[in-house]
């Protein structure tokens, strides 16, 4: 019985004094600061572990085109930065129009009984794990790509240098397609938020002037929400840049730069996933991979800070106007 009585008297004392409040607030603040400090720790640890590669290659690392783990070792990041940029750009090109269409349908056009269920279902795309996308891509999408979609594109646009070569289904184009599918839930959800933040009187004003539904959407809604939609696109880019498993399984894994989208490639993330286990601890290759990871993190941080600033601005704007 003693501890209970002791605790009770202790809690009584805490109630009397604001000490408990101070302690609790201090604890919460400490934990919150600790969480944010983790970001710094991550950067620091990666920089420390990547130091040997930084010393060996300096800034030339970013421009180097050779990745050779056999002596004389040489490591350059350019093919992987290129692969990441190309697949992400392709993902945006294919995924963004679809996502904005979804956002318009869900916020402007769909009958009200359909809106919530459809929104949930589109969001379920985000609940599918990346590795399952990879498995599906490898066994379902890749054969379709190889046998019908890529030959059709080559037939129509084969004179373009980006569509040269024999389609094999696991290449940069296929990786871009699977990334496009994976960014749809992110881009469409944030765009939808931005469209919903447009005040109703914007729409009513346009409709009262005799505009059709589409003219209202284009002139009064999309224009008003453009900063938020832009933020959504940038958030989608952030997702595409860091995506690992599905891309690793779809891109064919070839460590060199090529122009054609029907050629295999490698992104920063897929290279790390593929070669990390082979690189021995304290090898130069490991340090180079970690430096690539640091580059990936800085790219994605920059993208996300930018996107947050855009989205934050538009949502505040929406609240203010409503």
């Amino acid at each position: 019985m003693l501890p209970v009585r002791f605790l009770r008297s202790l809690s009584g004392r805490l109630r009397a004094a604001p000490l408990g409040d101070t302690l609790f607030q201090g604890l919460c603040a400490l934990v919150a600061i600790g969480v944010v400090a983790l970001l710094g720790v991550i950067t620091l640890v990666l920089a420390l572990a990547a130091a040997p590669a930084m010393r060996a290659f300096g800034f030339g690392f970013l421009g180097g085109t050779v990745w050779n783990p056999i002596a004389p070792e040489e490591y350059g990041a350019a093919p992987f930065i290129d692969g990441t940029l190309v697949t992400s750009a392709l993902a945006l090109l294919l995924g963004v129009p679809v996502s904005i269409g979804i956002a318009i349908f869900l916020s402007e056009l769909a009958p009200s009984w359909l809106r919530i269920p459809l929104t949930y279902i589109v969001e379920l795309l985000a609940a599918v794990p990346s590795v399952v996308y990879g498995l599906w891509g490898l066994f379902v999408l890749a054969p379709v790509m190889r046998d019908s979609i890529e030959p059709a594109i080559r037939g129509a646009l084969g004179w373009l240098p980006i569509f040269q070569g024999t389609p094999i289904g696991t290449d940069k184009f296929a990786a871009g397609v699977i990334l496009a599918i994976m960014i749809i839930p992110t881009v469409s959800a944030v765009s939808r938020e931005a469209l919903l933040a447009v005040p109703g009187n914007q729409r009513e004003a346009a409709l009262s002037l005799g505009a059709t539904r589409w003219e209202t959407t284009r002139l009064a809604v999309l224009r008003y929400a453009r900063a938020g939609i832009f933020g959504a696109i940038v958030l989608g880019l952030g997702r595409a840049v860091g995506e690992t498993m599905a891309v690793t399984m779809m891109i064919g894994n070839k460590n060199s730069i090529s122009v054609s989208l029907f050629d295999q490639g490698q992104t920063i993330a897929s290279l790390i996933a593929n070669s990390f286990a082979e690189a021995g601890p304290s090898s130069l290759q490991l340090a180079a991979l970690i430096e690539l990871g640091l580059v990936l993190m800085l790219i994605s941080l920059a993208i996300n800070v930018f996107a947050r600033l855009m989205v934050g601005r538009v949502l505040r704007l929406g609240e203010g106007a409503a």
Binding site: L23, V31, P129, S130, L135, F139, R213, G242, P281, L296
Partner: protein, 303 residues
């Protein structure tokens, strides 16, 4: 019972193509295009679910859940995923919820805004970067002799990686959940004379409990399907859990290795494992929606 009616998209469309007619037809075309976009998004989702069900069911039998991955089952993978997710939750839920409390209860100032911003940004760090971070951290610590080098590929490393991904996510969802607790509830509690920290612990937390559970579930769903950070931390193993300092198998890792295997039997097992994993994720996702819906009938906690 009144059935919901889908509006007739052809209503009011004129059969002429002068200026007015073109405007109406364009309106019609754009509506159809937006609808087609939704269909485009549903095709891969449907295809993934159907393929996983059809191909996965062929692999699934009673022994599939019992055998280790070394013998073509996924028993040790389910075990490993449950262990990793449970330990990661045990770390990240208290830390995340305390951070969430800070953000919602004490964070209405510039400092709180800054913390919120960085926590937001942290939710978007690529998961593979977290994997490299944990690997490098343990490697650096073992070089200085603080921990055993064995921990580089271990269940502990996997747990730390998953917890690192989960913490910022739980923090933000916890903040959103606690913000929904009304001011009058808080004022009523304070009016009874209890101090603020007890008001938060005894009134605000229980009131926001379903939101907190939802956030925790979504956090679990988010890390339960992670593969990339586990490649360089928990690593994977053909057999059951054998200690926190040993490598451990997980469902996503099983799918990855079986998918790339040259044996069709293992490819099929990858589909079976995918079916199990996707069903787990979808159940968590739907369950957390229902939980939110029952509290906020219009289905949006964020509104």
């Amino acid at each position: 019972m009144k059935l919901p009616k889908f509006p007739n998209p052809f209503r009011g469309l004129p059969l002429r193509f002068d200026r007015e007619g073109r405007r109406l037809w364009k309106d019609f075309g754009m509506s159809i295009a937006a609808f087609v976009c939704v269909v485009i998004a549903l095709v891969p989702l449907g295809s993934i679910l159907i393929e996983a069900a059809v191909r996965g069911l062929q692999a699934i039998g009673p022994s599939f859940f019992l055998l280790d991955t070394a013998y073509g089952g996924i028993g040790n993978a389910i075990q490993g995923t449950l262990i990793l997710v449970a330990f990661a939750s045990a770390i990240s839920l208290p830390v995340g919820i305390l951070t969430g409390i800070y953000l919602s209860e004490f964070g209405k100032n510039r400092f709180g805004d800054a913390i919120r911003f960085f926590v937001d940004v942290m939710t978007q760090i690529p998961s593979i970067v977290v994997g490299i971070f944990v690997y490098s951290l343990i490697l650096l610590l073992s070089v200085s002799g603080i921990v055993s080098v064995r921990l580089v590929f271990s269940a502990i490393a996997g747990t730390i990686a998953l917890a690192t991904i989960m913490i910022p996510f739980v923090a933000r969802t916890a903040e959103e959940a606690l913000r929904l607790v009304s001011v009058s509830t808080r004022e009523a509690a304070l009016a009874l004379g209890i101090p603020r920290h007890r008001m938060i612990l005894r009134v605000v937390l229980p009131t926001g409990a379903s939101g907190l559970v939802t956030g925790a579930l979504l956090g679990v769903a988010r890390v339960g399907g992670e593969t990339a950070p586990l490649l360089m931390t928990a690593y994977g193993s053909g057999f059951g859990f054998s200690g926190l300092d040993q490598p451990v198998e997980s469902l996503p890792h099983t799918i990855y290795t079986f998918a790339l295997s040259p044996y069709t039997g293992q490819n099929q097992a990858a589909w079976g494992a995918s079916l199990v994993l996707v069903l787990m994720m979808l159940m968590i996702s739907v369950f957390s929606r229902l939980l939110l819906r029952s509290r906020y009938p219009l289905g949006g906690a964020g509104r």
